[in-house]
């Protein structure tokens, strides 16, 4: 019965799978409600996605959107901050907010049995926040402490320096989403409340549900909680296109005491409006998207320079980026960057049929895993809606990936990676790293402390 097989057994054809479909209704206030019924998902996620382009923040108050978002649940017209948290958590709910460059997402996860009271509380935070002076002040202080933590974090420093040098200073994304000490310190509840009034309302929102909706009228529960939402904020304004700085450049951020160098290498990339959005993802998978990619095969598996690197194309609503990131041993920083740049540039010469086929298979066949959990569905769809594509975009995207040819993947890659130069950011012990950067052909580094 049992025998030793010396070659891998065949893989059976996958059963058909489609990205889950939603039923869409609207609340009395006109907010679309998308319900993804997922039997067996006993913990539901409800997400309110609100268009909130960050260019709408006054330059001198950047971070006001983040402080506003973080204080939505810190006291409402009906509950104090402590009472609100106690009520929500008593229902077994977890609450969270996320601010991206285009949207605010406010979300709860809750056992379906507690859905109605938890959605009521979610609506209370979104539609009736109090913005008490003390609660806003506390979050300003917490944000200032968080900035200290970010400054100590090599990965954060690298991403921050990358954004600051990839984008022109006129582009909001060249600066931190959550603001800097200068722009955070002056914030009070007055500006926070004003920002809320001008930017948050039912016309800018979508409400998403995923979970086991058996016997539950989700649309009615959501309408009961959000149907009376009123606001003077009309539709959101469209953000301008970002401005990129081109050319090969090198940035060295001194982080004394570092035992590794944190690297980010990258350039501009497509966004979801671009025909290469799907094909570029296939190319990325080949070059740096997985442990078996071209980059990690050398940097991790052959040379042992790193615990692992990853690359990706990511994009908000307008204007994407390509980045390769990871940490490498200090002594091999120059060698690792040399290898990484060589691999990134050589990939422009072409990706093989086999590489592209395997990447497509991996990306399409893993989709049922990625979207098994209720939460992952609303996160993906919420992000897609915030980025200006339709509610069924995830399925369209999968079809585009499945149809990608090797020539298309190579062309997408060539269109973006290395065409207008590559920005290399290194965060590490500058005195040890600096001499290793001389031979990269990128000129003298811009040095930051």
């Amino acid at each position: 019965m049992s025998q030793i097989l010396t070659t891998p057994p065949a893989v059976g054809a996958p059963r058909p799978w489609k990205f889950p479909e939603s039923t869409t209704t609207a609340t009395r206030a006109g907010t679309p409600v998308h319900v993804f019924d997922r039997p067996g998902q006993y913990v539901a996620t409800v997400r309110v996605t609100i268009a909130m382009p960050l260019f709408s923040e006054p330059r001198e108050l950047e971070g006001v959107a983040t402080i506003m978002s973080r204080t939505l649940d810190e006291g409402t017209e009906l509950h104090s901050a402590n009472d609100f948290a106690a009520a929500l958590e008593r229902h077994g709910a977890a609450y969270g907010v996320d601010v991206s460059s285009d949207a605010l997402h406010v979300e709860i996860s809750v056992p379906v049995s507690q859905l109605a009271p938890a959605v009521k509380l979610l609506a209370e935070a979104v539609t009736r926040p109090a913005f008490n002076v003390a609660d806003v002040g506390r979050h300003v202080t917490i944000r200032l402490g968080e900035i200290n933590q970010e400054k100590a974090n090599a990965g954060y420093r690298a991403r921050e320096a990358f954004a600051a040098h990839l984008f022109d200073a006129s582009t909001r994304r060249s600066r931190p989403t959550a603001g800097t000490p200068d722009t955070i310190r002056p914030l009070t509840n007055v500006q926070v409340a004003e920002y809320y009034r001008n930017n948050i309302g039912p016309e800018r929102a979508h409400i998403l549900f995923a979970g086991d909706a058996t016997g539950v009228d989700v649309a009615a529960i959501v309408d009961d909680a959000f149907g009376d939402w009123t606001s003077s904020a009309g539709p959101a304004l469209e953000a301008p296109e970002p401005l990129y700085l081109p050319g090969d450049r090198l940035v060295l951020v001194d982080r004394p005491g570092s035992v590794q160098s944190q690297l980010v290498i990258g350039c501009a990339g497509p966004d979801r409006r671009d025909p290469t959005w799907g094909t570029a993802a296939v190319a990325n998978h080949v070059v740096g998207g997985t442990i078996t990619s071209r980059v990690d095969t050398v940097l991790r598996e052959e040379k042992g320079y790193t615990y692992g690197t990853r690359s990706s194309f990511t994009a908000p609503r307008k204007g994407g980026t390509f980045t390769l990131g990871g940490s490498v041993r200090t002594e091999v920083t120059g060698a690792a960057i040399t290898d990484a740049l060589r691999i990134l540039r050589e990939a422009r010469d072409g990706l093989t049929e086999q590489e592209v086929r395997e990447a497509k298979d991996s990306l399409t066949l893993t989709a049922p895993l990625r979207y098994e959990q209720a939460d992952s569905i609303v996160q993906q769809v919420g992000s897609n809606l915030a980025n200006g594509v339709p509610v069924d975009f995830a399925d369209t995207y999968m079809q585009r990936i499945a149809a990608t040819t090797a020539a298309e993947a190579t062309e997408a890659y060539r269109q973006w990676v290395g065409t207008n130069g590559l920005l290399v950011v290194v965060v590490g012990e500058a005195k040890d790293v600096r001499p290793q950067l001389a031979d990269l052909g990128l000129g003298d580094p811009i040095e930051l402390t």
Binding site: M1, S2, L5, T6, P8, P9, A10, V11, P14, R15, W17, Q41, Y42, V43, D73, A81, N82, A85, A86, E89, R90, A93, A94, V110, P111, S113, R138, T141, G145, E146, N148, Q149, A152, N153, A154, G257, S258, V259, Q260, T290, T292, T297, E301, G304, Y305, T306, Y307, S327, V328, R329, E358, S362, L365, T366, P368, L369, R370, E372, Q373, A374
Partner: protein, 433 residues
């Protein structure tokens, strides 16, 4: 809520315990193996070995070349990884159900025949990768060594939980290829593992496949058990005060707790949740919201099987606030809970949170497979996944207070503090109270 995930179980002739849970909701299948070897099994001089195998197991085996494990599974739509912990090592993949045979074949080939491919070259390369992992996860981040310092204080030298899974780089450097081969021969075999299959497959087909790929593997001699770690609560205060280039001052304390699988541990875990979980926890209310002396607080229990568990409480001081105030407030709340107990409402809240966490953990085939392996390997009973919520719901306020009184006390703790060093260089301060 009552859970009723179906479970079927068989033990193969070679001792491999196989658990199957069929679920046709999504066309995927999760394969999960727990080996009964973790850092607690490592003899002195071999720390980090269990975790090293988490790396070596991807470097090829008799019929699989280096890198092929990843590439075959990724091409079949798989998501895969491995993890090492104090109590066990875990290998897992999820993929479209047509790939079940491939996943089982790969797991069986490395369970039986890893050593055919385990060369000095592989070993040296993965030693380097592990060192980079340690630098990335422990050394190159603020407070990254806090757990290392805490377990060293909280458990006596040589105790199975006194060192972290990453181990000592000196031990890894000193390891010979033969040491590494011997470790594998000691712990890696069908009778020292649980194989769980969850998802889009019938029970019968899953058992047939398990037998087809694992049935021929020989059993290994019964591995030596991990040393008994049974030990009571800490009865003194053990300190490690660090001056370092940290962004904010931080205090973290560790308490020994009862072993996993006991109502006492559930009660102790809920006690820590009342203090530290969520926005409504006592510590967040007092230190962050009301007094504003801390930027953040966190904590919770870490269940372990070997005679003792541990739990932690952590506070990060607000800028300009003396860390001593944070420490004092944490300890005051610890004592208040031990002396005054908790309310029925507080208990209901942390139970409701624990229930959501558990349902979320079981909401994917991969998460369910992991918990089935866990409960089959460490407790001999996979059906505990269906009764877990009832166990947590059965804990009373009296049990929570009793557990806290015995285990979570100001007078019995290990504590590490990090304070900003004005002149910017790291140095060690004193080590005892």
């Amino acid at each position: 809520m009552p859970l009723n995930y179906p479970l079927a179980e068989q033990t193969l002739d070679n001792g491999l315990r196989v658990v199957v849970s069929s679920d046709r909701a999504v066309p995927i299948v999760a394969v999960n193996l727990w080996y009964d070897v973790g850092s607690r099994h490592e003899p002195p001089g071999l720390t980090g070995f269990a975790h090293l195998f988490e790396h070596l197991m991807f470097q090829g085996s008799r019929n699989v070349t280096s890198g092929q494990h990843f590439s075959l599974l990724e091409t079949a739509g798989g998501s895969l990884n491995a993890s090492t912990f104090f109590d066990r090592t875990n290998y897992f993949e999820s993929l479209p159900s047509g790939g079940l045979d491939l996943a089982l074949w790969l797991e069986a080939d490395r369970m039986g025949y890893l050593l055919d491919a385990l060369t000095l070259e592989n070993l040296d390369n993965q030693r380097d990768v592990v060192k980079e992992e340690k630098r990335q996860s422990y050394d190159n981040r603020p407070y990254g060594d806090s757990y290392e310092r805490l377990v060293k204080l909280a458990f006596p030298e040589g105790h199975p939980y006194a060192h972290m899974t990453i181990g000592s780089m000196a031990d890894l450097d000193a390891a010979s290829l033969e040491d590494v081969h011997q470790f594998f021969r000691t712990y890696y075999g069908p009778n020292n593992a649980v194989l769980t299959i969850v998802g889009d497959v019938s029970v019968e087909d899953a058992f047939d496949a398990a037998k087809r790929y694992f049935g021929h593997l020989p059993a290994i001699p019964t591995p030596p058990p991990a040393p008994d770690g049974t030990i009571g609560p800490l009865t003194e205060v053990l300190r490690d005060d660090v001056l370092d280039d940290v962004p904010s001052d931080l205090v973290t304390m560790m308490f020994r707790l009862p072993p996993d699988g006991t109502p006492e541990l559930d009660a102790a875990g809920l006690a820590l949740d009342v203090l530290a979980a969520g926005q409504s926890g006592r510590l967040n209310r007092r230190l962050v919201r009301d007094e504003q002396i801390a930027q953040s607080v966190s904590g919770g229990a870490l269940p372990l099987i070997g005679g003792v568990s541990f739990g932690t409480l952590t506070g990060i001081a607000s800028d300009g606030v003396d860390l001593q105030l944070v420490e004092d407030a944490l300890l005051e709340e610890v004592e208040k809970l031990a002396e005054g107990g908790i309310t029925a409402d507080e208990l209901a809240t942390v139970q409701a949170q624990a229930e959501r966490d558990w349902l979320e953990q079981l909401s994917t085939c991969a998460g369910r497979a992991d918990e089935i392996s866990h409960h089959a390997l460490l407790f001999g009973d996979p059906n505990r996944i269906n009764t877990r919520i009832d166990q947590v719901r059965a804990v009373t306020v009296e049990q929570v207070q009793a557990a806290a009184r015995e285990w979570i006390r100001a007078t019995g703790r290990a504590q590490v503090t990090y304070r900003q060093n004005e002149n910017g260089t790291a140095e060690e301060a004193g080590e005892q109270e």
